[in-house]
Structure formats: structure tokens, C-alpha cells
């Protein structure tokens, strides 16, 4: 077990875990930030997406030592009270079905729009292609990303 200093959603956190513990499980089990979801554990589904220094990253495939000293943002820290334009667009479009994949979708979309404020259709589709939605809410995910791009 080792101790790591992590900066999560603006707050400094000290965690003591095995060195190989994925950031996903550090967030969920150690810090109680369960908004970040487990879907596959191998970087294939995007349910676990968080921001590391503003980039969308798969938290299931990162260890604590890789993120020490970096800014980690989870869905809980994306905004106060869900007011981020992407969250608002998700609400207006009523994107979720079961909702399980949606935190990951929102984190992918928000990091993407930060870099590409005026995305084309194919850019949006490429950006969101790595996030699986088993319920098939892809039409609405697309619409919400487009809407958020226009509103921000």
C-alpha cells in the first residue's frame, strides 16, 4: 500500500491504496465519488471517463501515481448543481434511458467541446464513438452535444 496526494474536484485528498488500484476504484471506493462508473475496466466503454488536466481520460486504465499532481475532475465536480452547459443540454434533450453511461458521456462531451467549440457532425460522432450506450441513446447524445456547443 502507498499513499498518494490527489487533487480531485479542486480539493486535496490523501489516499492509501495498492499501487495498481485503478483511479476508477480510488474515486468510487476510497473517495465515495460514485458518479464515475465501472463498465468494462479495460478502456473500451468510456463509462469511467473523468478529466485529467482537462483531457477526457479512462479512469479504469490509470493508476494513482499517473495522476498525482494533476487536476482530476469527476462528474460531481463538473459544475455546482449541474449547471454546466453540457449537463443542461443533457437535461433539455432528456438524454438518459437507464442513465448508467451518461456521466461518462457528459465528461467526454465536455472535454471535447472545450477543445472544439464549433464541432462538425463527424467531429462530434468521432469524439463520442468511444462511449458505449447500451440503451442506444445515441441520437439524443448527438443532439445534446450539438446543443451544448451552440449554447456555450
Amino acid at each position: 500500500m502507498s499513499t498518494y496526494q490527489l487533487k480531485v474536484n479542486g480539493a486535496q485528498k490523501s489516499v492509501t491504496v495498492d499501487a495498481d488500484t485503478p483511479l476508477l476504484w480510488v474515486l468510487r471506493d476510497e473517495l465515495g465519488l460514485v458518479g464515475t462508473k465501472y463498465g468494462c475496466g479495460i478502456g473500451q466503454c468510456g463509462a469511467c471517463t473523468v478529466h485529467v488536466d482537462g483531457m477526457a481520460m479512462r479512469s479504469c486504465s490509470m493508476t494513482p501515481s499517473q495522476v498525482e499532481g494533476k487536476e482530476i475532475t469527476t462528474i460531481e465536480g463538473l459544475s455546482k448543481d449541474g449547471t454546466h452547459p453540457v449537463q443542461q443540454a443533457w437535461k433539455e434533450v432528456d438524454v438518459p434511458q437507464c442513465g448508467y453511461c451518461q456521466a461518462g458521456q457528459i465528461m467526454t462531451a465536455s472535454a471535447f467541446l472545450e477543445q472544439h467549440p464549433n464541432p462538425s457532425e463527424i467531429e462530434i460522432k468521432n469524439a463520442m464513438h468511444g462511449n458505449i450506450c447500451r440503451c442506444g441513446a445515441y441520437n439524443r447524445i448527438y443532439t445534446a452535444v450539438e446543443k451544448a456547443a451552440k449554447s456555450s
Partner: protein, 741 residues
């Protein structure tokens, strides 16, 4: 027909009561209300477990809280059902709170759970409940004013007397709680609806977009530990021995135990659960965190021995073909004489359609919390059939049913997988053994390799054509462990062809199988809709007109087994033709048509395929749905779009092959699900009518595969007889690279 009246007595399913701190509680049983004869529940302070599963609380300040009885699996019922109650109760939707969970009052301390029932089942009961509660509030106000209740008016929770006095619900609720439950109430007319039919965002939206702990995997309790289970790698194997010395060295590991005895005991007592859970002993690793449990699980050295035959996909293929070629049939419907029709036919066409096993792949892997103590058994998690599972756990642990407390969480997908709750039994057995609150977690690999799969199925359909007419139709189903449910043999084209027969056969496998979104029809619809296209081609008639002409022959009034409504189906088809531009598509767009009826809903879909870089791509699907009155159009459209995309995704890519009893894929690196770039635009059109609402979660899935297969034929000239389409050898020969969007 689908609008059969449901009769019940309000007294038998509703009870009202005053709340200790003021206000009124109305308990009702949504599911009993659907049955004509039920015994009235005893008084509220001493409820039986199954008496009530839904509640309305009206507080002194007029706030209305509806405790939604249905677990939310993503079908939107947690929003739609309260909308129906609120409509008849005459309250503003913004003043309604919807909750799911333990209702903690002195009258009611146990969680009671309802199964997953569609809006159709609740429609009458929910309206009656809302209307009855409203009537009691009005009666209380009328009593206070000394006027006739019939002369009072209600709007948005405010009652107005004939002389213009007003009282809010909160002001009369204490008196209302003491009144008799009225037997006769009147329901609103459709045209007066102010909530039903409005676009309503799902009630959990804020929690979802901010990452609140809503799901089973998010649940936690003081002192909880985590368990991961090592199960036999192959179906047909059982545990021989295991060595856990390496696992014990992993920090955080608390215990490694063998489980299985309790489940085996239950299977002996209740064999009905037999094809849903492996009977082998298993190894449970208990640790302080999820990761430690998962990690330790992977270093357990277990030896397995072959118990029964270990099947491969090649075996399934052969066995199903043998069944199709054999003579062991169970007849499910027989009209006229198909064999005579075949003998006299000008042309006989016979085709065989094949589908693979499919895992459910709920985005949230299976998991469940259990805390078994001497005084109670506390279970929490995502489950579609809580009452059934509570009963099984009671039986398994030899406990009284009232010791079991089951709480439902939101579910990260269901698709049928969470009907079974094999994981509930495992979690309860582990907690019972270790004496601690425990959360059983499946890795994705566990989830995909210990599934309760949709099994492989083959259909063989044979048709007779004489003098340009369809004179005979014989559908045979060869399946694994089970066969189509009883209504399906009476689906279209039953009733349209004089000589019509459906036969089924199955063989028993040790691979666990069960329902998967739109059971049987999820594949049958593709087979039949492809076949109809071939028939129309052989008869040289228009494909859509061919379907309409057949539907016109159906006389449901003369055959009570026929549930679908040919007129509603024809209307849906015509609308799909109009909205999709069927037959007038621009050059380079290839269309495929399919229509289907299941879960009381009539659907038609047109898929548009184009060729891009030498490969066919599904660009758009036009989907027309008749699901009666639409309670929440926003939620309905979401369901419909999802069903179409799910149907396309699984017919194009879904494939779980087996080798030596082992699934050949166990995570998304080897198992392909549809993704953003492969998902077409889904354009939905809802029929407007006043029929009772019907199912939405399932009916748009089955025709999607048929529409796409027919469009692929139009685009490439190749008929597809086997799912998944993207792997169909004949199609792969034509296109230059694997199909992706």
C-alpha cells in the same frame, strides 16, 4: 383485441390512512388492481408483505409525493406512472415529487416491491387511484362547506365550492383521510388531459447528470465488504478443488470461501430456477474494496472437472438443425391443412434463419447487496422481480418471508437479465456465510460469461403459393431450453392464411438462458419480415401492398386468439410509407420495410441504406408506432429510438459463440456493441388515438432487424439468413471491408 376492460373493486386494492404528523397516505396495489378477484388487505398497521406496492402521500401543505412502485430500468415508468396518477388527482406536475425506496412511516416500515409491469397494466389502476383520492378530498371539502360534492370543481390541487370558496388539498387532507373510500368515481376525458401527453423530463434527471448514487453499484452501508465470485469457466463444469494461498496475500482480502450449498438446496426444492444459475460450487473472495476482491479473484487457482457435456457453437448448430429436420414437434397453432396446400401449390418456398447466443450486457454489471443477520435479511440492488427474489431468498435461507427487506435501486439497464436475480441468491449466501453486510460485484467478464443468455434459435418457414395467392404457411422453431411464449403463434400472419401452422421443439442445454428484450420476437420478426419480402418477390407484387392485402384478410372478431388489430396495423404501415418516402427514395438510397406487432403495440419501420466506400451503411430509420395514448411523449420517443438502435446493433453485430462450454468473448474488446457512428438517425412518428397505452420498451426492437436485412438486400442484392449480419459470409464477399458506420 387490446382494449379489453379490466374490472376490479377499489375497496380491494386501496386503503387510506391518516399520517402521524398530519396528512394522508393512500396505499394501493397496482398489480392486484389488475386482477378481478383479490382478497381485501387487512388494516394498514399490520400489512402483509404483498398487500401494497405503491403509495401516494398528501401532506398538510398540499405537497404530493408518489412512491413509484416500479423499479426503473430505463423505460421511463418511474416518470410515466406518476404522471397518470397526478392527472386524475388534479395536481400540478411541478408540485409532485416522485420517490422510490423505503417509506418510513409508523404505518409502514417494510419496503414492498412491485415487479416490472408496463403502463398497460397500470393504466386503469393508476387512473382510478388518482381519481379516488381526488374524490375523497373533494368530499371532505364539500362536507365542510355543507354542499354537494358534485357541485365542487378542482384545478391544480385547489377545490372550489359553488359559491366560489376555495380550499387547498392540504387544508382538507386530514379530514379526507377519515372518509370512506368511494366506490364510484369518474375519470377524465382524454381531451381534458393536462399532464398526460405533455413532454416530461424523467424524474431522476438531476441525479443522473450530477452523478448522484442512484444505482446498485453505488449503494453502500456501514461495515460493508465486497465480494467477487469465481464461477466455472465453462458451462458443464463443476468445482473440484482450489488453492487460495496467493489470493490471501493480497492486501485487503478478508476471506475466501466456498459457496453453493444453499443455492443447490434451493434448486432441489425449486427446480424452476434450474436453467438460470449454475449448480456448481463457487469460490467467493471477500475483501475491503472492489478492486482488492477483483484482483484476488484472478489469482485463485481452481481446478474444475467436467460434469456434463460442454457445448460449442458447432454443437448448437447441429442440434438445432437436427431438430428442424426431425419429427418431434409440439404443435402451437394449426389452421386448415398446410401439407395439402404445399402439395397443391404452384410454388413452394422454404427458408431457414439462424441466430446466435446473445448476452444482455447491461451497462451496469450485475451486483447486489445483502446483509443477513439473525433478525432480518436486508437486500438492496437492481432487480426487476423483487417479490420473486425475496421469496426465493427466504426459501433458500429457511427464513420467514417477513424477515426479508428488499430495496430496489435504479438499474443500469435490464433487457431481461435482471429478471433472474441469480446474483441475489449468491449475495445472500455469501452474507449468510460470513455474517457481514456484503456487496457482490461482477466484473464485465463475470457479467458476460455467467449470463442468462438469449439462446441460439433457428426458424424454418415454408410457404405455398397458388394462383398468385399465399395458400399455406408453416413456421417451425428449434430453440434451446424453452420455446416461444403462447401468444406468438397467433401473431401475424396467423388469421391471414387459411392453411397456417406453428410448431416448436427444443433441447435442454446446461448453458443458462432466459428472456432478452422482446423474447423470441427479437429474432423471429427479422426472419418473417425477410421471408415476406421474398414471398412478395416470388409473387411479383409490391412488398408493402402484399402485407396490407394479407392484413385485410384477418377477421379478429371471428378468432379471439388474434390479439393484433389489422386496421391499426394497416394505418401504421400507410403512415410509414408516407413518412419514409417509400418507393420514392433518391438514387443511391436503398430501403427495407418491416412491420410487427408485439407487447400490444403496432410498429412499422423503414430502413434507409446507402453504400459508402463500398460498404452498406444504415443512415436512417423511419419508425411509426401505435402504442395508444402516449403518456409522456419525451420518454416514449427515447424508448422507441433506443429500441430501434438496439435492434439494429444486435442484428448487425451481436454474437456470443461458445467453445467447450466457454463463451468466446467476455468484454468489449471481443464483443461488439453498436456505437455512435453506426447508429442511424431514427425518425419517429406516433399514431394519435384514444386506445389505452401499450408497451414501449420492446416493440420497436423486433422489426428493426427485418427492415435492415431487407434494405441490405436492396442495396447489395444479397439476402441474409443469419445474424449477425456484419459477419454473414455471402455479404462479406460483396463488400470490401467489415461493415461499420
Amino acid at each position: 383485441m387490446s382494449d379489453k376492460p379490466i374490472t376490479f373493486s377499489r375497496r380491494s386494492f386501496m386503503r387510506t390512512s391518516s399520517l402521524a404528523g398530519g396528512g394522508m397516505l393512500i396505499g394501493f396495489n397496482l398489480f392486484q388492481a389488475c386482477k378481478p378477484s383479490v382478497k381485501p388487505p387487512i388494516d394498514l398497521s399490520n400489512l402483509d408483505y404483498n398487500d401494497f406496492n405503491a403509495f401516494i402521500k398528501i401532506a398538510n401543505n398540499g405537497a404530493v409525493t408518489i412512491f413509484s412502485p416500479n423499479p426503473e430500468i430505463g423505460q421511463g415508468v418511474k416518470t410515466a406512472m406518476p404522471m397518470i396518477i397526478a392527472e386524475e388527482l388534479e395536481v400540478a406536475w411541478k408540485n409532485v415529487f416522485v420517490k422510490q425506496g423505503i417509506l418510513d412511516t409508523k404505518y409502514y416500515t417494510r419496503q414492498v416491491a412491485g415487479g416490472s409491469q408496463s403502463i398497460r397494466h397500470g393504466w386503469d389502476a393508476l387512473r382510478q387511484t388518482g381519481a379516488t383520492a381526488k374524490q375523497m378530498l373533494v368530499n371532505a371539502a364539500a362536507l365542510r362547506w355543507g354542499v354537494d360534492a358534485n357541485d365542487c370543481k378542482v384545478s391544480e390541487g385547489v377545490i372550489t365550492s359553488p359559491t366560489g370558496d376555495t380550499l387547498g388539498y392540504g387544508e382538507v387532507v386530514n379530514e379526507a383521510a377519515l372518509l370512506e373510500v368511494p366506490e364510484e368515481v369518474s375519470l377524465k376525458e382524454t381531451k381534458d388531459y393536462t399532464i398526460i401527453g405533455t413532454e416530461t423530463v424523467n424524474v431522476d434527471i438531476d441525479g443522473i447528470i450530477t452523478g448522484k448514487p442512484l444505482f446498485g453499484l453505488d449503494y453502500t452501508k456501514e461495515g460493508m465488504v465486497f465480494a467477487a465470485v469465481v464461477r466455472p469457466p465453462a458451462f458443464g463444469q463443476k468445482l473440484k478443488s482450489f488453492d487460495y494461498s496467493e489470493a490471501r496475500k493480497i492486501p485487503g482480502v478478508i476471506d475466501v470461501i466456498k459457496i453453493g450449498k444453499k443455492v443447490q438446496g434451493l434448486l432441489e426444492a425449486d427446480p424452476s430456477f434450474g436453467s438460470k444459475i449454475s449448480p456448481s460450487d463457487k469460490i467467493a473472495v471477500i475483501a475491503k474494496s472492489t478492486w482488492q476482491a477483483m484482483k484476488a479473484k484472478n489469482v485463485i487457482k481452481a481446478e474444475w472437472e467436467d460434469d456434463t457435456f460442454m457445448e460449442s457453437t458447432a454443437d448448437h448448430d447441429k442440434k438445432l438443425t437436427d431438430l428442424l429436420d426431425g419429427t418431434q414437434w409440439e404443435n402451437r397453432r394449426k389452421d386448415g391443412d398446410v401439407n395439402k396446400a404445399f402439395k397443391e401449390a404452384d410454388t413452394v418456398i422454404e427458408r431457414t434463419y439462424e441466430s446466435p447466443f446473445l448476452p444482455h450486457n447491461c451497462m451496469e454489471p450485475m451486483n447486489f447487496f445483502a446483509d443477513v443477520t439473525a433478525s432480518k435479511v436486508h437486500l438492496v440492488g437492481p432487480i426487476q422481480t423483487p417479490e420473486w427474489k425475496a421469496g426465493l431468498v427466504a426459501k433458500m435461507l429457511e427464513r420467514e418471508p417477513e424477515d426479508i427487506l428488499l430495496e430496489m435501486t435504479r438499474m443500469g439497464g435490464g433487457f431481461g437479465r435482471r429478471l433472474y436475480g441469480d446474483f441475489v441468491l449468491e449475495a445472500a449466501e455469501i452474507s449468510d456465510a460470513i455474517g457481514k453486510p456484503v456487496k457482490l460485484v461482477y466484473s464485465r467478464e463475470d457479467d458476460m460469461s455467467a449470463g442468462v443468455y438469449r439462446p441460439a434459435i433457428k426458424y424454418r418457414i415454408k410457404a405455398a403459393i397458388k394462383d398468385g395467392q399465399l395458400t399455406g404457411y408453416h413456421l417451425k422453431e428449434a430453440a434451446i431450453n424453452d420455446n416461444m411464449y403462447g401468444l406468438i403463434p397467433n401473431f401475424f400472419p396467423a388469421g391471414a392464411i387459411a392453411n397456417y401452422q406453428v410448431d416448436t421443439a427444443n433441447y435442454q442445454s446446461n448453458i443458462t438462458t432466459g428472456a432478452w428484450r422482446a423474447p423470441y420476437t427479437n429474432f423471429l420478426a427479422y426472419a418473417e419480415q425477410s421471408f415476406f419480402d421474398e414471398l412478395a418477390e416470388a409473387m411479383n407484387v409490391d412488398k408493402v401492398q402484399f402485407r396490407i392485402d394479407l392484413l385485410k384478410k384477418v377477421q379478429p372478431e371471428k378468432d379471439e386468439r388474434i390479439q393484433y388489430d389489422p386496421d391499426r396495423m394497416i394505418a401504421v404501415i400507410k403512415k410509414a410509407v408516407e413518412k419514409s418516402g417509400w418507393g420514392q427514395q433518391p438514387k443511391g438510397v436503398f430501403q427495407g420495410f418491416a412491420n410487427y406487432y408485439c407487447h400490444n403495440t403496432h410498429v412499422a419501420e423503414v430502413a434507409d441504406v446507402v453504400i459508402e466506400n463500398g460498404k452498406p451503411v444504415v443512415k436512417k430509420v423511419t419508425c411509426v408506432v401505435d402504442c395508444g395514448i402516449v403518456v409522456n411523449p419525451m420518454g416514449a420517443l427515447n424508448q422507441i429510438e433506443g429500441g430501434v438502435i438496439d435492434g439494429i446493433g444486435h442484428s448487425m453485430y451481436g454474437d456470443l459463440a461458445f467453445e467447450g462450454g466457454m463463451p468466446k468473448a467476455s468484454n468489449y474488446d471481443r464483443y461488439r456493441l453498436i456505437r455512435m457512428k453506426e447508429a442511424p438517425k431514427v425518425e419517429v412518428h406516433l399514431m394519435q388515438n384514444e386506445h389505452s397505452p401499450t408497451g414501449l420498451g420492446e416493440p420497436t426492437l423486433p422489426p428493426a432487424g427485418g427492415a435492415v436485412a431487407n434494405a441490405l438486400k436492396a442495396a447489395t442484392g444479397q439476402r441474409i439468413y443469419k445474424q449477425p449480419f456484419a459477419k454473414y459470409p455471402e455479404l462479406l464477399k460483396i463488400i470490401e471491408e467489415p461493415i461499420i458506420g
